[in-house]
């Protein structure tokens, strides 16, 4: 027998596998395929203060080993998520969920986190700081250590739930951003969000994505994600949720060796809807292959 249980800020997960925000909706589509209660947890679709339709279509482009998305945080807004989605979600998923929160100003983050703080169903608040900051010329919150810290402090002040800051990889120095978030009171770090990418359609000569650029994710970005998890693990003393291209039990182990306590699976869910189930089922066998009896033993193992 092997142990796959890991603990994030006092919340024990049966296994470290967590579908990533935006790739698992509110869970229903997958609940039709398998019992999603086998998951460690899941991070639901990024939620904002106001309802959002998101970006114009096309929103999706193909890449080698990955895809670009420019969904633009389509969601019904925090009120509706709490009133309608959470109760429905509760029927298909009985464990604490991760609430992924986005905003375009510090106030919006605060507004959403204050609301979501009331919801027992939510175990962790994951604050996505990759969004453009309307008060700073559209630069993403996550590209400035100060602004990321400001969001962290503001959000921490209004919730007792553990707050994980989800970092953007489109930065020069991810470690220093993680560090300032830690100093500002973050309980954990999630990374990485998507890399900014672009494809151009040769037939039209124009970008494939209506919004021109979008977020690149999938197995292609895995080496960047492993590197950043490794760097952040050296910089902070917080649990890390690692993600970016994870699509096999081996990838999970690699992320954990780099320093992740839990691992999210994103784009892979979209093309292999059973991927999280498969990973969870095969994980013990792959652990045995590499002589791992307890996943907790390997967290950050590559640093030793």
């Amino acid at each position: 027998m092997v142990n796959t249980k890991v603990t994030l800020s006092g919340i024990t997960l049966d296994n470290p596998i967590i579908p990533a925000s935006g790739t698992f909706g509110y869970g229903y589509e997958f609940a039709e395929l398998y019992d999603i209660n086998i998951l460690g947890s899941f991070s639901f679709k990024g939620t904002t203060k106001e309802p959002r339709f998101g970006n114009p279509t096309p929103r999706i482009a193909e890449c080698t080993g990955g895809m670009i998305n420019s969904v633009g945080l389509q969601n019904p807004g925090i009120e509706k998520v709490i009133q309608e989605e959470l109760p429905k979600m509760k029927k298909v998923f009985h464990k604490p969920v991760i609430a992924n929160i986005s905003g375009f100003s510090v106030e919006e983050y605060v507004y959403c986190c204050q609301k979501i703080d009331q919801e027992d169903q939510v175990g962790i608040i994951e604050v996505n700081v990759s969004c453009p900051n309307v008060h700073h010329g559209g630069m993403s919150f996550g590209t400035s250590p100060e602004v990321a810290a400001e969001v962290t402090r503001a959000v921490k002040a209004v919730t007792k739930k553990p707050v994980y800051i989800k970092l953007s990889p489109n930065v020069t120095d991810i470690a220093s951003i993680a560090k300032t978030c830690e100093e500002a009171g973050a309980d954990g770090i999630s990374l990485i969000n998507t890399l900014m990418g672009m494809r151009i359609d040769l037939k039209t000569g124009k970008p494939v994505i209506a919004n021109k650029m979008g977020g690149f994710s999938g197995s292609a970005i895995f080496p960047v994600a492993v590197r950043m998890v490794y760097q952040v693990y050296e910089a902070v003393n917080l649990p890390i949720i690692g993600m970016g291209g994870v699509s096999s039990p081996e990838d999970v182990l690699e992320m954990m060796l780099a320093g992740a306590t839990a691992v999210q699976v994103g784009a892979a869910n979209l093309v292999e809807p059973y991927i999280c189930k498969n990973i969870i089922e095969k994980l013990p066998e792959v652990m045995k292959k590499y002589g791992i009896t307890d996943l907790n033993d390997i967290i950050g193992g590559a640093h030793k």
Partner: protein, 244 residues
């Protein structure tokens, strides 16, 4: 939705760019014409959505046009190859609203889903009239197959090399005795049909898809009844709800 493996039984060109593939496997998730498959192909990250043209207990027929890497790869697969496919995707056409004399209008690679729809309507005792639009005679396909179903088939080609010269709308505008319409094809055609038809109808849309089963919001569109995902709440929308 179901994920399962299919064996290619046949894979043959119908025109210089359009192929027919017959797949053998579990078809139980398919419930309606107008639904689609999402096909995993070697070396490509995203699956490729292709409409079901016809199906029975253990085979599916699809017709696809070679337009890029994925469809080109498909055209080179040999019989007995195995494909990983998601089936039963999308809402499909609702035949209960058809009335007795529905029009079925397919343009280009919008033709395939019309085939099963015509078959279903005929099986329900209705009299569909099928209008197919192509660029030119060499690019036509499945005309005889529709005729064999017993449907009346009208053809429009842009260059007049067969049937009416012009667009499907040129034919539709001349008709007045239809009770409903169903269509699939390029968006400008859908828009023109929405404008020139005198009845209600159902239109099937395309969008670049991430998942094809409602998880990613990659394919959203705004309708009069709220936001819809083309892959899950569509691809078939009702004329009345569409915001052009």
């Amino acid at each position: 939705m179901k994920q399962s493996l299919f064996k290619i039984i046949k894979n043959e060109p119908l025109t210089s760019t359009v192929y027919r593939m017959i797949l053998e496997g579990d078809t139980s998730a398919i419930t309606r014409s107008g639904q689609f498959l999402n096909i995993k192909l070697d070396g490509l990250f995203l699956r490729r959505p292709i409409s079901v043209c016809d199906y029975d207990d253990n085979t599916i027929t699809i017709l696809y046009k070679v337009v890029g890497k994925g469809t080109e790869g498909m055209s080179k697969l040999s019989p007995a190859s195995i494909l990983d496919i998601l089936t039963g995707l999308g809402n499909g056409y609702d035949t209960t609203k058809s009335g007795n004399h529905p029009l079925l209008i397919g343009g280009g690679v919008g033709v395939p889903p019309m085939f099963r729809l015509a078959k279903d309507l005929i099986a329900e005792g209705k009299n569909p009239k099928v209008i197919l639009g192509f660029n030119t005679k060499d690019e036509t396909f499945y005309i005889e197959e529709f005729q064999h179903l017993g449907a009346e088939v009208l053809i429009a080609t842009a260059d007049g090399s067969i049937g009416t010269k012009g667009f499907v709308t040129d034919i539709v505008k001349e008709l007045c005795d239809y009770t409903y319409f169903y269509t699939c094809g390029p968006e400008p055609m859908l828009k023109a049909l929405s404008d020139c038809t005198t009845t209600s109808g159902q239109l099937s849309f395309e969008e670049r898809m991430g998942c094809g089963f409602g998880a990613c919001m990659g394919c959203s569109c705004e309708t009069k009844y709220g936001n819809k995902r083309i892959c899950k709440d569509g691809p078939v929308l009702e004329k009345e709800e569409i915001i052009w």
